[in-house]
Amino acid sequence: MATSQWWASESFWRKTAIWVTGGSFVALMFLTMDTIPQISTGSKRVPAYSVINYRISYKFDETRHVQVPVIGAKEPLFGKELNEEEAEALVKLGKLTTQSKNCMNCHTLLGNGAYYAPDLTKSWLDQYWGTKEVREVQMLEFIKDPSDKVHNSMGRRMPKLEITDEEARGVVAFLKWMSSIDTNGFPYNFKSIEQEN
């Protein structure tokens, strides 16, 4: 047996394990330090919460060859313009609501979660809501009580989750803000609602 070979020795592999692990972790730390500022709120990839004051579209980018969010004309959510603090408070309420109502164990958000209900990443832009004029009202009504709405032919219904009007507004704000995140083209080939005037 070749156990006397250096490459088969215990000590060589112990040292290798330590150096490889340490090196990988250090690399991950540097990558994390580079990534976190790029995905912090208010960055190019993850816009500030006040983005809910504007129209958000999802358009094909010729250079990147994927769809990217485009922030357009002023179009305040629920017709009321919010300052940065107010916008953050509303989106925060929405995010907390999605967590405390356990949305992620039926839906996916940014593609992560469960697969029993549709992905929510670009749900603000989904053609399901009809026209952009009725979208906000439709979303509010739906979130507050979806249990009697037959919204697909599968027979699956979202349960009524005791979501208040204010929480529902928060959820809509959160979904609108989330649709503005640059997700490198996920979901692919998405067909967006008509938003041009």
Partner: protein
């Protein structure tokens, strides 16, 4: 002193007495996992079933949380199981370890009861602290997070201190550092942020660096111990292999984290880093297959515990196919764009968790019951030809493979119809979900799920009865 063929705690050392307690809860939670999995699977077929009482979200949460916790209990039990033998020293804080076991088990019980009966709360931070954090896999409310951290710190202290006072082997060195990393990483999931990109960035630290790094190294340690016990492989060989596996697992797995950073808002350089390193992740799993199969073959598969050996081999292959092949299939971003968030992920998740983790903990259950009954014979010529463990092994593995393939078929339908053709809209999602091929996949998943349940029942029955009244002592494997 050993009372052969009878369950007698005098047959166990201190750490092992605590280990079997962890194993007992692990099996009960395994049962809960199977039950709630079947319930949520049934809701795909009959959406009105338990609607408004135990909704899919609740059943699915209990299904995956029972999974995480039973595997953790299995790991903690396995560590306590091997601790005194490996260190040749008594567990230093056994009383504290026992206390923490009860505290942790009480906490888990309360968390599950709240999941089942309270389910959801208002959109406030108090809900996250008291009811449910709403983040997949780590839904446990914050109070429980803190309890978990305190508990595992105690286990960590027990392990590190016992090894320090006794014999500090190669396995000990890897185990102590791995547990430190495993528990430390949990902290990355213990804060709230509104920014969902930042949220998911750290959330993946917990999920990925557990499942695809520290847990894999944990089972490599258990595998090393198991092969020494069951086959009598020499320490020098298993420890050298262990270092090779650690180098390959952490070398691919730590930066392989990047394959979760394709679509959550993170920069595009993660495509290359995540794609490249995660594509390497199957390599250590190949190494484990080679290692286990070669060692078994070199000893003509002569071993002291046939069920445990069979489950160790099931682990080697299950880990390779479930985590390795099924993960590799959709790890490159060019493919993942169409598969991410579909039944592909569920298919991979099932075979990976079962193949990599459930199998090896079941092997530990068999090692446990053998010693608990005084070190009874568990090689060939078992009463009734050992049909129970063989059928349990067959039904559990076949059931799991069946579920995995069924979900993969459904996943293909989603990739094609929902993603490629319909453009990922809600209507596209619905179009795929009602497609007969998708629905057939969901039916077969449920059928194979029932097969899995039958296998589970047989497994429990076998663990309760194997070696009962046996008068032959186990063959000694450790000399080899």
């Amino acid at each position: 002193m050993a009372t052969l063929g009878m369950l007698d705690s005098a047959n166990l050392n201190g750490g092992q007495k605590l280990a079997v307690k962890y194993f007992t809860v692990a099996i009960m939670l395994f049962g809960a996992q199977v039950l709630f999995g079947l319930l949520s699977g049934l809701q795909y077929l009959y959406p009105d079933f338990l609607y408004g009482v135990l909704d899919f979200s609740v059943n699915r949460m209990v299904h995956i949380n029972a999974l995480v916790v039973w595997l953790l209990y299995g790991f903690l039990g396995s560590v306590y199981w091997l601790l005194e033998e490996e260190s040749q020293h008594e567990v230093v804080g056994l009383k504290l370890g026992n206390l923490i076991y009860w505290v942790l088990t009480a906490a888990v019980t309360v968390v599950v009861l709240v999941y089942l009966f309270v389910q959801i709360g208002p959109g406030k931070e108090s809900s996250i602290w008291l009811i449910n954090e709403g983040r997949e896999y780590i839904e446990a409310p914050r109070w429980a997070d803190i309890g978990i951290v305190v508990s595992v710190l105690v286990v960590f202290y027990n392990v590190a201190a016992t090894f320090s006072k006794g014999r500090y082997t190669g396995i000990a060195g890897v185990l102590v550092l791995d547990m430190l990393a495993l528990f430390g990483i949990y902290l990355a999931g213990m804060f709230y942020t509104t920014n969902i990109s930042i949220d998911q960035y750290w959330w993946w630290w917990v999920i990925h660096l557990w499942v695809e790094a520290t847990w894999e190294v944990m089972v490599a340690c258990i595998m090393a111990y198991g092969l020494m016990k069951v086959l009598g492989v020499s320490r020098k060989i298993v420890e050298t292999w262990l270092y090779i596996e650690v180098a390959l697992m952490f070398g691919s797995g730590i930066l392989g984290l990047g394959h979760h950073y394709f679509w959550i808002g993170t920069p595009e350089y993660w495509f290359s880093i995540g794609g490249f390193f995660s594509a390497l992740e199957p390599i250590p799993l190949v190494a484990m297959v080679v290692h286990a199969v070669f060692d078994a073959g070199a000893r003509h598969a002569k071993n002291s515990n046939h069920p445990a050996m069979a489950w160790l081999i099931a682990h080697a292959f299950g880990n390779f196919f479930g985590a390795g092949v099924w993960g590799f299939m959709h790890t490159l971003p060019q493919i993942n764009l169409y598969t991410h968030g579909t039944q592909w992920s569920a298919s991979h998740g099932h075979l990976a968790f079962f193949g990599a983790y459930a199998t090896i903990i079941i092997a530990m259950f068999y090692l446990g019951i053998q010693r608990w009954r005084g070190g009874t014979w568990m090689s060939g010529d078992l009463p009734s030809n050992g049909w129970k463990w063989k059928w349990a092994l067959g039904l559990l593995n076949l059931g799991m493979v069946g579920m995995t393939v069924a979900m993969l078929v459904s996943g293909y339908v989603q990739s094609q119809i929902e993603r490629a053709i319909e453009g990922s809209s809600w209507m596209g999602y619905f179009a795929a979900q009602i497609h007969p091929w998708f629905v057939q996949g969901m039916w077969w998943r449920e059928v194979f799920g029932v097969m899995f349940l039958v296998g589970f029942i047989l497994l429990v029955w076998d663990l309760l009865t194997i070696g009962k009244g046996e008068s032959r002592a186990m063959v000694s494997a450790e000399a080899g």
